[in-house]
């Protein structure tokens, strides 16, 4: 059933453009990579603070206010550019195990971000608790997984 979505994406105007354009894929991929740099930086600063390793004197909320916005902004760019990249080779992605892993991990980390991660940030105090350290570590691990799986798409 999901396969229909990928087929439609391939046949869409976006898909047709990406499949025939000489440099469309390259430009979109560069945008994906630049947004990745920003996303990674925001994730690192935010989660390292949650784990009590950086900015210890600053309240978690203050760090989260700006890093959260940066994270979500760059994530939106990554998702949009990602959709364009997939549209160039939609069915190939659909059947690619690395891509499937990437999507699973991406959904998992986004859900995690808006639930457990959010509550940890909201109730965070001066000292970081063991629970916060675990949540920060899980977050970094999941995001890293998304990145590794993404790189693996072109390798397997």
């Amino acid at each position: 059933m999901l396969r229909i979505w990928f087929l439609s994406l391939a046949q869409s105007t976006l898909g047709q453009y990406m499949q025939t354009s000489k440099w469309g894929f390259a430009v979109v991929e560069a945008i994906h990579l630049l947004a990745l740099a920003i996303l990674g930086g925001a994730v690192l600063i935010q989660d390292l603070r949650l784990m009590g390793l950086v900015f210890k004197e600053e309240p978690m909320r203050r760090i989260n206010r700006d890093m959260g916005r940066t994270l979500l902004g760059s994530l939106v760019i990554m998702v949009l550019s990602g959709i364009a990249l997939v549209s160039e080779e939609a069915l190939k992605c659909y059947y690619n195990p690395a891509f499937r892993w990437k999507m699973v991990l991406l959904v998992a980390v986004i859900v995690f971000y808006f639930t457990l991660h959010r509550s940890a940030i909201n109730r965070s105090t001066e000292e970081s608790r063991a629970g916060d350290r675990i949540i920060g570590a899980i977050s970094i691990f999941l995001w890293l997984g998304v990145g590794v799986a993404g790189r693996a798409i072109g390798l397997i």
């Binding site: 390259a26 190939k92 397997i156």
Partner: protein
């Protein structure tokens, strides 16, 4: 001083986005120009990020043209059962793929039939080439082969 930095950067962007000739299938190869090449191996580059196989193709009139065929990296190929030692210079292989857009004697090695008869998907994963029904070992037009 800083302005000069920015000017250099802008120039770098301009240069780097201008000459995109490769990568992602549609930038380098033409999905409407399938080709079947049969020839003797003259050179093998078993390298990352891409492998290259050069074969001498003889046409009807006896003219020999050397074609380059671009394949996936060693890791991907060996996972499909194709090892470096499987090919020797002088072996005859069949390459099904698509021609390079710039008209040069380059094709992507979408499907390679080895001397021992095995037919291996040689393409680079995630490059977005056509002729695949999405599965790794997809169908190529005009070849009638499917695994």
């Amino acid at each position: 001083m800083k302005l000069r930095f920015l000017l250099v950067v802008v120039a770098a962007f301009a240069i780097s986005t201008e000459a995109y000739a490769h990568h992602s299938f549609s930038a380098e190869f033409d999905g409407t120009k399938p080709v079947r090449l049969v020839g003797k191996l003259t050179r093998v580059e078993w390298t990352n990020p891409h492998s290259y196989f050069y074969i001498d193709v003889v046409d009807k009139n006896g003219n020999v043209t050397n074609w380059g065929c671009e394949g996936a990296g060693p890791g991907a190929l060996s996972r499909r059962g194709w090892k470096k030692g499987d090919l020797k210079i002088g072996d005859t292989i069949v390459v099904d793929g698509y021609r390079a857009k710039d008209g040069s004697h380059l094709a992507d090695a979408r499907r390679v039939t080895l001397p021992d008869g095995r037919s291996i998907y040689g393409g680079t994963p995630g490059d977005g080439g056509p002729g695949d029904d999405g599965t790794v070992q997809g169908v190529l037009p005009n070849t009638g082969t499917k695994k």
